[in-house]
């Protein structure tokens, strides 16, 4: 029973190790001492580094649209991987299923395009 959870333990260890190693390496790798200026110690968030998060700050809506669209089409690509791995077993059924999925996304894509959501200005 407990051994079933072993993969999850490894998974959790990896999940913790990756960010921990990132932080650790940024201290270990520099050859000469780095000046810890206030600017460099602030959390870095997508090019915005002016102190703590601010509820009043406004972002242009374009960021939000792009992020949402990215997630949509990113998920589409994620689904292509399992199909590619199992294509021989799934055969035309799998291709058909994915075609339906991409077809629905294509409708959304045409809508988004024509609506002008991809125009940055």
């Amino acid at each position: 029973m407990l051994s079933n959870w072993l993969p999850f333990l490894f998974y959790a260890l990896f999940a913790a190790a990756i960010p921990a190693s990132m932080i650790a390496l940024s201290f270990l790798l520099p050859k000469r001492p780095v000046a810890r200026t206030r600017q460099k110690l602030l959390p870095f968030e997508s090019g915005v580094s002016e102190g703590p998060p601010d509820r009043e700050r406004r972002f242009t809506i374009s960021f939000y649209l792009t992020a949402i669209l990215f997630i949509l089409f990113d998920i589409e690509v994620v689904f292509l991987y399992p199909l590619a791995v199992r294509l021989e077993e799934l055969g035309w059924f799998g291709v058909g299923e994915l075609a339906v999925f991409i077809g629905i996304l294509a409708v959304a894509f045409v809508y988004v395009w024509r609506k002008g959501a991809l125009r940055w200005s």
Partner: protein, 487 residues
């Protein structure tokens, strides 16, 4: 080799009709010339809903005994088909109600979202495992979150959208957590398999059952899970309110009944008591709170909470008679609910503001058809004869009495007696005062007649009264549908 499930296109028909209508309407709202977008999208949504109802009827006619399809993820049975017909009809009428809604932008997309919400609902009612249950729930809920906040120029609508999103998301999360516990206890997702797993009174299973029940109670707006209902019903565009109050309630009530009876038959002693408590709280709180309302949409929202109470009395019976009573009840209730909100929508468009009881003054004389219809709906809600509301309550009380829930019958009769006061108060405002007395001025004079809305209201009156005179055929269909469930 991976087993590929056989896809039953016939059983999926109603869902595909609406999904197709939604997709084409969405494309139409950017690809066709601007002046005809709304017309094309509305036409497509109407066709989609009508086709879903017809295909649902075909499934009803063709399916003698329930069978699961698509790897056990959905069930093709008369219960689901019954709901598909009702939801399809509601949707088609709501398209008519929405037609003249003043709207500056995104006029085509509205109908695409409405059809997508309908597609989610007709899929939801055929769910036969916890996965499709959650998928269906989220499918129509996400569409409704957007529709509720559709009037972005009204702060109330945005507020309602945010409230519905947060509270609805919370309800969905509870349902999902409950599903996880049920899966953990039984190792099964399918409703029939959960029942067959025989987990007995495993505390995880019981906790899961309670959370699934709570999650669905949010969607049917049963007290004490109703707190979003008045604000959301009041804030949303009235046509959306009419769709939510009728179609969401039909779909969620039916799925509640299906989950409890097919997945948890062993735990009947537990859930009948839990549902009876929900019913009692809804009856008491819905009716008492309705008294205090000045806004007509809020009043109807609390009335909808109290009707959830009546429907849950039928579910609490836990018998086939109870299921029949619930299914019958849904038909006149859905018609009255769509119709009542449609009349409020018409008044709202005339006045250009939220409608309070005072704003109804004189409507009965100015617009005889709408006034008379609202009168009929109020009598129907209260359960007067010559409307299906009377038989609905009668069947519910009979089922509850036979199941031994006499205290619910007493409470239900008391609630009905109390409710007459505030329903008739609406009628009093319609006829006893004129708009001139109170200085209720129409925005920009008397607007032209809204033929589509009047047709919609006339149809709902027809169903409200027709379900009284033609109660037997509806009851027969309800009995056929109820036989799909294992009692």
């Amino acid at each position: 080799m991976i087993d590929t499930p056989k896809v039953d296109w016939f059983a999926l028909g109603p869902t595909l009709a609406l999904l197709g209508a939604s997709g084409v309407a969405l494309l139409a709202s950017v690809l066709v010339p601007a002046w005809m977008r709304k017309g094309v999208a509305a036409g497509l949504a109407f066709l989609g809903f009508a086709l879903a109802a017809i295909l649902g009827g075909a499934v009803f006619a063709e399916t003698a005994s329930p069978e699961t399809t698509i790897a056990g993820s959905m069930v093709q049975d008369r219960l689901g088909a019954f709901a598909q017909v009702v939801v399809g009809a509601i949707g088609a009428i709501v398209v008519l109600v929405s037609w003249a809604e003043p709207r500056r932008s995104h006029r085509g997309e509205y109908y695409a979202l409405l059809a997508a919400a309908g597609a989610g609902m007709v899929f939801f009612v055929t769910a036969s495992n916890l996965m499709t249950l959650f998928l269906g729930l989220e499918w129509f809920s996400l569409c409704l979150y957007v529709l509720v906040a559709y009037d972005t120029h009204r702060a109330r609508s945005l507020e309602a959208g945010l409230k519905y999103l947060i509270v609805g998301g919370f309800g969905s999360a509870i349902l999902l957590f409950g599903s996880a516990l049920v899966y953990g206890a039984t190792g099964e997702l399918g409703f029939a398999e959960i029942a067959a797993a025989g987990a007995g009174s495993d505390p995880f299973l019981v906790a899961g059952l309670a959370m699934v029940l709570g999650g669905l109670a949010f969607k049917v707006s049963a007290a004490p899970f109703h707190m979003w209902t008045p604000d959301v019903y009041q804030g949303s565009p009235s046509s959306v309110t009419s769709f939510m109050s009728a179609a969401t309630k039909v779909a969620a009530m039916l799925v509640l009944l299906r989950v409890l009876t097919t997945a948890f038959p062993e735990e009947r002693e537990i859930w009948t008591v839990a549902v009876a408590v929900l019913a009692a709280v809804s009856l008491v709180w819905g009716n008492l709170a309705a008294f205090a309302q000045r806004d007509v949409k809020r009043l109807l929202a609390f009335s909808s909470v109290s009707h959830a109470g009546f429907m849950l009395v039928a579910v609490a019976a836990g018998t086939e008679a109870g299921a029949e009573a619930l299914l019958y009840y849904l038909v006149p209730y859905a018609a009255m609910s769509v119709g009542a909100f449609a009349v409020v929508a018409a008044r709202e468009r005339e006045l250009g503001r939220d409608v309070s009881l005072e704003d109804l003054a004189g409507l009965g004389w100015e617009r005889p058809l709408l006034g008379l219809s609202l009168w009929v709906f109020m009598l129907g809600f209260a359960g007067f004869p010559l409307t299906g509301g009377m038989f609905g309550k009668l069947f519910v009380f009979t089922a509850a009495y036979e199941a031994g829930d006499w205290w619910l019958v007493v409470l239900g009769v008391l609630a009905t007696a109390v409710s007459i006061a505030y329903y008739l108060n609406v009628v009093r405002w319609l006829y006893m005062r004129t708009g001139a007395d109170l200085g209720v001025a129409l925005a920009g004079g008397s607007p032209p007649r809204d033929a589509a809305l009047e047709v919609a209201v006339a149809l709902t009156v027809l169903v409200t009264v027709g379900s009284f005179f033609a109660a037997q055929p509806i009851l027969d269909a309800a009995a056929d549908a109820a036989r799909s469930l294992p009692f």
